[in-house]
Symmetry: D3
Subunit: 242 residues, 6 copies
């Protein structure tokens, strides 16, 4: 089984963090390949960045289809381009916010999200409203660390632990969801300190994608996720047309 | 007052239809400029098309900011790039699905959407869930006409009328919302035949944008729609970075 | 275009405040007439007052129809008699809570309401549940100033600013909605101090009513808002029958 | 225990039907007095009628307070003036739509409402949204019989039975709620024919009001239902002021 | 009329507290019999206890049917076995959480629940979501007293009062619901101290069951609550089969 | 990794069907053991059966904990005893309705459930409301085949296919969820005929449980799923106490 894990931003060092977490979550016989988006922003910290990360994600999925990938994980917590990627893909496509939120609801009654910047909290709430039942997501909390600082700032773990502890208390939640692919290496350590399950979406995404492939559940091609109709594209995006 | 109406697809003849409807809806002293997206798909009929229409929309908004536009209307019923456009804009930005759905709830208890392709119905439902109260959108119906055929097919009006009539009956609704910018020229005729208000989002979008500018309600720059942080972009989208 | 703005309470000095805000919001060629309710309470501060303000509102709308009004604004934040007024009117009828809440969702992700008395907070929440999507209204806050004191108390603006600032912080909101027609003159000043859009429902109501008239969207007469069946009335309300 | 059952319309023959059903539902030691509204419409078939029935309801409640009533039932399925009446009353005030819907959810998973005119269906849905959990009310069906014809038209029972049977099937519901006080005498017969519980709101309202009085649960005077502040009223409604 | 009030736990002294409250709530001519569950846990403080209390509840309902009971009250705030009991019963079956929450919404706009252990708060929220409209239950608060300590601990009343007072303030609620059958004797005293209605579910359950029996509303046998199909059972539960 | 799959009913031949589907879904290195409930009903076709299946489920989970099981799947579509089982278990516990519904939302926008008896449709809807976002479950359809006939009736597959096809059309859904563990062997064949993903909850449950174990996500022991407090039990259920 071949799973492609796509880093929607264009920073290769972050792809490396993602790849490590992804590989650790895969079962025997699963090949995981991590891909950096071929175009777009260095990090995703606004609706603007997220929207402009989508072309890179779609180019990577199109390439994956040519290479015979069995499933995909989109490794940014905004799940950029998820619906469009599903139109292109034959197998399952999982966003890491989606994966983490679903997994969290399977091991506790309510979860809190710990994310990076305050301005992205709305997006996390929107995704929760789409993915899970109404009261599952009890709160979204920002640690105010820019995405690309996650890998260099030695205080990150400590701040995520402190924010997670406060969130459990304040929200009455039972599980922590890490709200950024750049936190993928923190799950086990934070869980050990807080004494609750801490879900990293990259690991959850790989494990769920593998699960869907194994039970023979591809993306439905009936209705909304059917292959897009062919048509001309113009300008810088000409290559995306047919 | 200068309002920019952006056609997110790259078909100029459709921009002309949009421009006519937009100008008819503007009050005295309002200048309406209709812009065709500078890159992307010829029409928007899938999540894939919609996602790839967003860079063109954002380029047009960025240009509008340089030109001093007071507000924007995004003239595709999927409201592509609305959140990201708001981050770029100083004044209000209105999507035509958003405008039409809000307007519809002001003149009746429930509305039905008449749109083009079956596969886009999910997107319309998602937008209704975001924009209006839970029971306002009573149904979304597709007339199965590709977007670019709207302007050439002489049977369009008849089919929209028939579908609208059936929708009013089946949904128990009181207002019809036209679910495609390419239907912008049909509103008055369909309303005359059905005897209920028929809302064209282009007209509604222009009138609402004008209303917001007049009452001094710009896009809030606190929180989610603050200006995006500057950062490098790579590849085909390099020009969107800073 | 003739718009009638109806003050549902019977205090003429408050009608004057409303009229000033209403006229400032109207475009060229729009005549705005502000009317004081011909019967009912001096101010509206309870369900009891609100219910008993409705006959006056309906009398004013009936008069408007005789005078050829193109649209109406009901200038009390409880939107008293909105559904019944729509049954009487040919053109659009907009409540100021409705107008302000719709406008607020077009310029930010979440709004807070700043209103007068604590006991009216439930009504504001009920209206939000009817008008806008579930998470748009993030909080309703009372400044504990009786309605008729708004015009005399020099500390009002300061208290509204302070309450608004606290609401933005506590609710994580991005827009302030003024929850009383008697605050119609405060919008610009409060917005300047808080740095976010502040929506006065009177201005929003006039601008939206004008927008609906311009795009040819009258109240739907199919279904719930059809003209009421004629019938006898008795007692003090005899004049409302036919 | 003294319960006042208020007929919000001004048709005394309908008060007689209501009184019979109300008395049959009261336990030993409960005195039930049925009152015809002292002003307003002959029947309630629109938002306009309903709004203008409220002053009569409030006059009757004020009189009830002077007479020492222990509780009230508002015997029109639109529950006109319920919130305002609670502000005036010391004891519990129950609307018959409220009573019937609550009772229905206690004896089945989902109910259907059988009401009079199509145009009142929206009001019934609004009340269901306020009173009961989201999926309890499975449908609202109109038999297209004007309110005052209910007592004269010998085909009413047959038509209610037929509509109820179709509703059970179509909605997958398990209980029928009668959607008009004028149907109060039909409950037992319709239930016998359909083989499911059929809830008449007048009976349910009396039984629930009695239950609340017996367990010592008056209307809460904390917050929204506190006694309204005193103030002057003018015009025809002068007598409602203080 | 014979009502059976079933204490789902196996502690007879708690049945005595329940019986006293139940009898006080019954009208003239109603015989109330309180039954201790014949098997299961001494108290119910977890999902595990609650699930294992259900066989005892069902045995008691089966016995009640043989004895001709007209209705049932399940006197544990988790309403254990409510759906299954309704399948067995001819008359109405009311859970005390259900009864209390319904009653609370009839006398105020929002209620707070004061319960025993923190871990049972999720169950109370689940029940509120099932029984009442979305914003009726404003908060669930735990006083951290084990169920069986309620009858011995002299500080209970004081702690419930303090918690209730804080809940009214924090939740903006207007009514208190007592979240444990073991608090059935506290209602009047707590209400006197807080000045708001305080609903004891045992009293509310008896009064509502009596109301339903009196208006002729049995459990619907159409659909979900039809008599269960006969079949063999094995092991310790053999006696529950047929 | 050891996963215990518990058949909550007491029919061993159905356990065999479940075991086959479960083993086919497990990855390399995962040992799957299928267990028949040691007490309770031969099949689960009512709330009564379901409630009385729970003691057997809990006995099996307690045994699994003694045997060092890493995770559990509850193989009945009503997910009987899920919350209580989580209190007992260290690792994850997944119900098959839960697993199937989550998996379905990952491969399509809306799913339809095809189940056995009409009377169980309400339970399926309740579970959907708890597990997934509001519009994910588009319909629940019954093929009217008793559970234990599934294995003997040669027409089952044909009827499930026909019902599934109608459901896709009527509900506008994109995925089919099989609503009974006894249908576990039908997934692939039905999917081949309908051309959409068909989710068998047993396979989905095993794959998800394995995924959660692999990413280190046990049941949270903070809050609602903490180990139940020890206490005495009496009667037939004495052995469940401590």
């Amino acid at each position: 089984m071949l799973l492609r894990v796509i880093n929607p931003n264009t920073t290769a060092s972050m792809t490396a963090v993602i790849a490590a977490s992804a590989r650790a979550a895969a079962g025997p016989g699963v090949r995981v390949e991590a891909i950096t988006a071929p175009m777009g922003p260095a990090s995703i910290e606004s609706h603007y960045d997220e929207a402009l990360a989508v072309p890179g994600v779609l180019a990577a999925v199109a390439e994956g289809e040519r290479d015979g990938a069995d499933g995909y994980v989109l490794a940014c917590f905004g799940d950029p381009g998820l619906d469009a990627a599903r139109e292109l893909a034959t197998g399952p496509v999982i966003g890491i916010a989606e994966a983490a939120m679903h997994a969290a609801t399977l091991v506790g009654r309510g979860f809190s999200v710990v994310t990076t910047l305050d301005r992205t909290r709305g997006r996390a709430r929107d995704l929760a409203a789409r993915y899970v039942a109404a009261d599952a997501c009890r709160g979204v909390h920002a640690c105010d660390i820019p995405v690309l600082d996650l890998e260099n700032d030695p205080s990150v773990r400590m701040r995520v632990v402190a924010l997670g502890r406060a969130a459990l208390e304040q929200d009455g939640s039972e599980v922590i969801v890490l709200g950024c692919a750049g936190m993928a290496d923190l799950g086990a350590a934070v869980s050990a300190e807080l004494g609750v399950p801490v879900i990293d979406g990259v690991a959850a995404g790989v494990a769920l994608a593998e699960a869907l492939v194994r039970i023979g559940a591809p993306t439905s091609k009936r209705g909304e996720y059917a292959t897009p109709p062919a048509k001309p594209y113009v300008g810088r995006l000409r290559a995306f047309g047919t």
